[in-house]
């Protein structure tokens, strides 16, 4: 694994993503759901909302870095708010 040049932060990052995927898989098996239509007027399941959350969070982080360029961890708070909004309304 040496050639992959692992670091602790990146390992933690992928660990969190893997955990999220596993959690949502278990959730989908234990509590099956029907897709619903939200503000985007498209059918979404929990998995879709997770994808929208993660992708949007990446852009929120990039925008924070590009526009403010400091205190990156605070961007995560914004991402949390975004995640809550996505899971509530999308």
């Amino acid at each position: 694994m040496d050639w992959m040049a692992w670091t602790w932060p990146t390992a933690a990052f992928f660990g969190v993503i893997a955990l999220l995927l596993i959690t949502f898989t278990i959730l989908a098996i234990r509590f099956p759901e029907t897709p619903r239509v939200g503000v985007l007027r498209i059918e979404t399941t929990r998995g879709d909302r997770l994808f929208i959350t993660l992708l949007g969070s990446a852009f929120i982080n990039l925008a924070w870095l590009g526009l403010l360029g400091a205190n990156q961890p605070y961007a995560l708070i914004l991402c949390m708010l975004y995640a809550a909004a996505v899971f509530r309304w999308v």
Partner: protein, 289 residues
């Protein structure tokens, strides 16, 4: 019919999962690792945090390449989609000529990218190329190696030549699937040619056209070989699209960190746009079916 749920079937997906892991997931993870580190070779890395992302977001280089890329994709989509529809509408619907047309249309799609590049590289040369020679003989000052506008025109025309048939073939397939009853009804109502196109053909083609737009957007957004062979990204940086710039950064300068950060942002944009297209496509199908 009663179906018995059998979750063991998921194990049949394992080979694909392994393949995708090796061809996409693991390389992508490595790119993420590179993007937050610096290296001087010898596989020794130093933590750099978000420096590369910060640098790239603040520099003009990536934004300019992104601007050129978006302009290129927009231009070729604006030409290829209407042109492809137009060609499909005028292709014979049956008989020998339908087959002849289909084969002719498929020909450019079968030519490898670098060969297409070479063809146009020579075709456009002023000294030996048919196009370049004819244009200069006609008194038009054309030189794609020195004039940015000429280089753009050449690259755009090359892409149109290479890929319009894909749009045309998809649109043709969409047209062929429209039942004759629709046209009969339109004739009874004395609908104009435009009304037939607007209210029968276009809605029925919407699905395949979305696929065509998605495919052409993705391919043009990732284009590398053809402009690289024809212009090499020049003159200056005039036709340096995202992929060309990325390869320059990663392979030319061997700046693995910045190139990793660049790749990730490139990937995110493609992922977002593809997701949007895909979602629209799936929802179009649902509304129809």
């Amino acid at each position: 019919m009663q179906k018995t749920p059998n979750q063991k079937a998921w194990f049949l997906v394992l080979p694909v999962l392994v393949l995708v892991a090796f061809s996409a997931v693991i390389p992508l993870m490595t790119v993420v690792n590179y993007a937050v580190q610096d290296t001087f070779g010898n596989n020794r890395f130093f933590w750099a945090g978000l420096t590369w992302f910060d640098d790239l977001l603040a520099s003009d280089r990536m934004w300019n390449a992104l601007g050129r890329q978006v302009a290129f994709s927009a231009i070729i989509l604006a030409i290829e989609i209407p042109l492809g529809i137009f060609v499909a509408l005028n292709m014979p619907k049956r008989g020998v000529w339908a087959s002849v047309c289909l084969v002719l249309m498929a020909l450019p799609l079968l030519i490898p990218f670098n060969v297409v590049g070479t063809i146009w590289q020579i075709f456009g040369r002023v000294d030996i190329g048919l196009l370049g020679y004819a244009l200069s003989a006609a008194g038009i000052d054309y030189n794609y190696t020195q004039d940015a506008v000429d280089a753009w025109i050449t690259v755009v025309v090359m892409d149109v030549w290479h890929w319009t048939s894909l749009v045309a073939l998809l649109a043709y397939a969409g047209l062929q699937s429209i039942p004759g009853a629709y046209y009969q009804a339109a004739r009874i109502d004395q609908a104009s040619r435009w009304a037939v196109f607007r209210y029968i053909e276009l809605p029925k083609m919407a699905g395949v056209l979305m696929i065509a737009i998605l495919l052409r957007f993705m391919d043009s957004f990732m284009i590398y070989t053809e402009p690289f062979v024809v212009t090499g990204g020049g003159p200056g940086n005039a036709t340096t699209f995202l992929s060309i710039d990325l390869v320059k950064m990663a392979m030319g300068q061997f700046d693995l960190g910045p190139a990793g950060a660049f790749s990730l942002m490139y990937f995110l944009v493609i992922l977002a746009v593809s997701w949007a297209f895909y979602t629209v496509m799936v929802n179009l199908d649902k509304r129809e079916g």
